[in-house]
């Protein structure tokens, strides 16, 4: 258990890097070809090119305001470049984009062995991929040699327990659940108690999907958070917000509202195996100041990857 004493560590490997690449790049091909054409033989960044870059960025859900900023930024830096090839301009764009994901590398803490059980709360809107992600995380933690407990605090949705139970079995970890419509806080409380009593390393709490506009449901989440904290001073150690990669500009609202009720410590972007780019996370990460931790690239239990800013930004422009 030597490894586990380190304060900061990386537990996960990238399982399916290719999946992200193929998913993220399919629709980009055409656009990139266009860009290259426009660049060819041109030493200046003209309006047509800017329009095309704008299209790529906006179509990735980065948002028009941030797109403008990034383009302005890149233009400024491009002026100072001697080499005005297409690749250089794209590199400038990538560089300015990367600045909008806050220091993810430094902030990633996947497990702190001095704080046991390490409690991770998973939150997000309906259908974002919370439950699936819990299954994936559970497997990864268990494979890292940790003792993992899953807590079924979605007591609302039809068959939520049954769904999570399947994932717990797949991951080979224990699950605590109660009947439908039980108080989610009480399930969380009992799970943490159980984890303390039985020397668990990790507790993963699944919660019901809720839209950020539903104040009562957000209060319910806040209560759960308080109850967990009351049981265990340092918990929850992480609260991860799951964002569907298909999400548009509403993602920012989601992040802002959830942050008012719980202390979001990181993001997970799911469904990046499709053609959506997940660009809304640039605004989210920079505005609520949280790192992106993992990405979901499929429905299988191994389809979870570390977030890598370079790969992510490359995928937006890559052909």
């Amino acid at each position: 258990m030597n490894l586990l004493n380190k304060r900061r560590m990386k537990l996960f490997k990238n399982f399916n890097f290719d999946k992200l690449k193929t998913g993220l790049t399919k629709t980009r091909q055409k656009l990139f070809d266009k860009i290259s054409e426009t660049f060819t033989g041109k030493a200046v960044v003209d309006d047509e090119l800017i329009d095309q870059v704008e299209e790529i960025l906006v179509s990735s859900d980065i948002g028009i305001d941030l797109t403008d900023k990034i383009i302005d930024d890149a233009k400024k830096n491009f002026k100072d470049e001697k080499d005005r090839s297409p690749q250089v301009f794209i590199n400038q764009l990538k560089k300015s984009l990367s600045k909008y994901v806050i220091g993810s590398q430094e902030k990633v803490v996947e497990f702190d062995s001095t704080k046991k059980p390490y409690v991770i709360l998973i939150v997000g809107v309906n259908g974002a991929g919370k439950t699936t992600t819990i299954g994936k995380l559970a497997l990864n933690y268990r494979k890292s040699g940790l003792k993992v407990l899953i807590c079924a605090a979605d007591t609302f949705r039809a068959a939520a327990n049954e769904q999570l139970d399947v994932w717990a079995e797949r991951a080979g970890v224990k699950i605590i659940m109660k009947g439908k419509n039980a108080d989610p806080s009480s399930v969380a409380y009992e799970s943490v108690q159980y984890a303390i009593d039985n020397n668990y390393d990790i507790v993963l709490i699944d919660t019901a999907g809720r839209l950020q506009t539903k104040t009562n449901l957000m209060e319910e989440l806040n209560k759960l958070n308080r109850v967990v904290k009351k049981k265990l001073e340092h918990a929850p150690n992480e609260t991860l917000l799951v964002i569907d990669g298909n999400t548009g500009q509403n993602g920012l609202q989601q992040a802002k509202e959830f942050s008012k009720f719980v202390n979001i410590s990181g993001l997970i972007i799911t469904k990046l195996d499709g053609t959506a780019k997940g660009g809304i996370v640039f605004q989210i990460s920079s505005q609520i100041d949280v790192p992106i931790k993992y990405i979901g690239v499929g429905e299988g239990i191994e389809d979870l990857q570390d977030f890598d800013i370079n790969q992510f930004v490359d995928a937006i422009f890559n052909k």
């Binding site: 299209e55 906006v58 990735s60 298909n246 469904k271 429905e299």
Partner: protein, 443 residues
């Protein structure tokens, strides 16, 4: 011929030229702002561009009521077109008159298909039909169980069998429905990505096997730019009949609906706005249009200005124009109304049936004061039948109105030209044509 007529009309009314028209220049700021609003609302980049371009091109030259700005007017026009585009074509769910109605529900993962199936079943039951829910999602853990629970809640039977092939489940469900006398079959399918070829083949197969009455594509209203890609791919593969927009109980703008509507041209049939099984509604295009565009204040302002314009008067006028009975008395009444609310050009543009073609007839509102005075000095008989206006009558009118005899003559000449033009237009079925041309075509 039409060209000729509108040119004549323009030259006839040339002297009295106004300037309150939509031009590229006076709407450019608003257009730019609206474009950003649409993008912020998740309308796809290309769709937003196209839509704005088409609408504003068509709107150029429209006259602006004096109480509103060109920016406000173009906002309202865009709102109207948005509503039109979102709401056009039939929203009713097709039912099969000669057998069971089969509804196939498809979409991406987590969009809200299963929940929607439960809601739809509940609705059908309330309408006196006998629905059957069919659980074809064999992949997502406990998906079948989820549908079973929903079925229990709404008291609708759920067909599910231990089976590794969704096609077989779909197929067997038809027979089962027959045996159980169910007249409406709702098939819940697994969420799938449009790029997952194997899974797309599965849903196409299911379609072929059950030959659904309706295929509904369920979309999360929070979806961003990529909605066009997934919707298009699904549509290319299964040619769905309608769209269901979910999670509208949140604060997403729902611009993806415009993107999808524009790209696949299929109607939005339902909106889903909650997790409870009665949170389902028919789709209201104007609600979504104002949700996407915002600007409710501007829109109601323009609406108010337009409502000041008396609809009845307009209809009467149109009738008279059609019957070639438009006389000076009508003209005077129009002028007075215009003074109440804005410019003559805007009046003309708003008259049902007059629309675009008369928009070229620019009229200076200041000249109206003169015209009003002249007509006021005419007797009723003269107004009805200007032919009686000989030299001495004209002189009397000029004096009475404080204008010159040239002014009177000019008005008479212009009015005569206008009348004969109106006659020609009627012969050509001009007004009917224009009535039919009023709506913009987007696709």
């Amino acid at each position: 011929m039409l060209e000729d007529i509108s040119q004549k009309l323009e030259s006839a009314l040339k002297k009295i030229r106004g300037q309150g028209k939509l031009s590229e220049k006076n709407i450019s700021d608003s257009i730019r702002e609206i474009r950003r609003v649409l993008l912020d609302a998740d309308v796809n980049y290309k769709v937003a561009k196209d839509f704005i371009e088409k609408v504003s091109q068509k709107a150029l030259g429209t006259d602006v009521l004096s109480s509103i700005t060109p920016g406000q007017l173009i906002t309202k026009i865009i709102y109207d077109e948005l509503t039109e585009l979102l709401g056009s074509s039939n929203q009713e769910l097709k039912l099969n008159p000669n057998g069971p109605t089969i509804i196939l529900v498809v979409g991406l993962q987590g969009s809200g298909k299963t929940t929607f199936c439960g809601k739809l079943a509940k609705k059908f039951l309330a309408n006196g039909r006998k629905p059957l829910l069919v659980a074809c999602d064999i992949y997502r853990p406990a998906a079948i169980q989820q549908l079973k629970i929903l079925g229990e809640q709404v008291k609708v039977p759920v067909f599910s069998i231990e089976e590794k092939d969704a096609r077989k489940i779909a197929k067997d469900s038809i027979q089962f429905a027959k045996e159980k006398n169910c007249d409406t079959i709702i098939i819940d399918t697994a969420g799938r990505l449009h790029v997952d070829e194997e899974m797309m083949v599965e849903v196409v197969d299911i379609k072929q096997i059950v030959n659904p009455t309706e295929i509904l594509f369920v979309v999360d209203s929070m979806t961003g730019q990529d909605a066009v890609n997934s919707a298009k791919a699904f549509n290319d593969k299964v040619n769905f009949d309608g769209i269901v927009l979910t999670k509208l109980d949140g604060d997403s703008k729902g611009g993806c609906a415009l993107s999808i509507r524009a790209v696949v041209g299929k109607p939005i049939k339902y909106s889903s706005n909650g997790e409870k099984l009665d949170s389902i509604e028919a789709f209201f295009p104007e609600r979504l249009a104002s949700r996407i565009l915002g600007k409710g204040d501007v829109i109601s302002l323009v609406e108010k200005a337009q409502a000041n314009f008396d609809e009845d008067e307009a209809t009467k006028l149109e009738e008279k124009l059609k019957k070639n009975k438009f006389d000076f008395d009508d003209f005077l009444r129009q002028i007075r109304m215009i003074k109440k609310m804005g410019s003559l050009s805007s009046l003309l543009s708003m008259m049902p049936g007059v629309g675009n073609n008369m928009k070229n007839a620019n009229i200076d509102d200041k000249a109206l004061v003169k015209v009003e005075a002249i007509i006021s000095s005419m007797t009723m008989k003269e107004r009805r039948d200007p032919k009686v206006l000989n030299g001495s009558r004209r002189l009397r009118i000029a004096k009475g109105s404080g204008t010159s005899i040239q002014d009177v003559n000019r008005l008479l000449k212009q009015f005569g030209e206008m009348q004969s033009m109106v006659k020609k237009m009627n012969q050509k079925g001009f007004f009917n044509n224009m009535l039919n041309n009023k709506k913009l075509n987007f696709n």
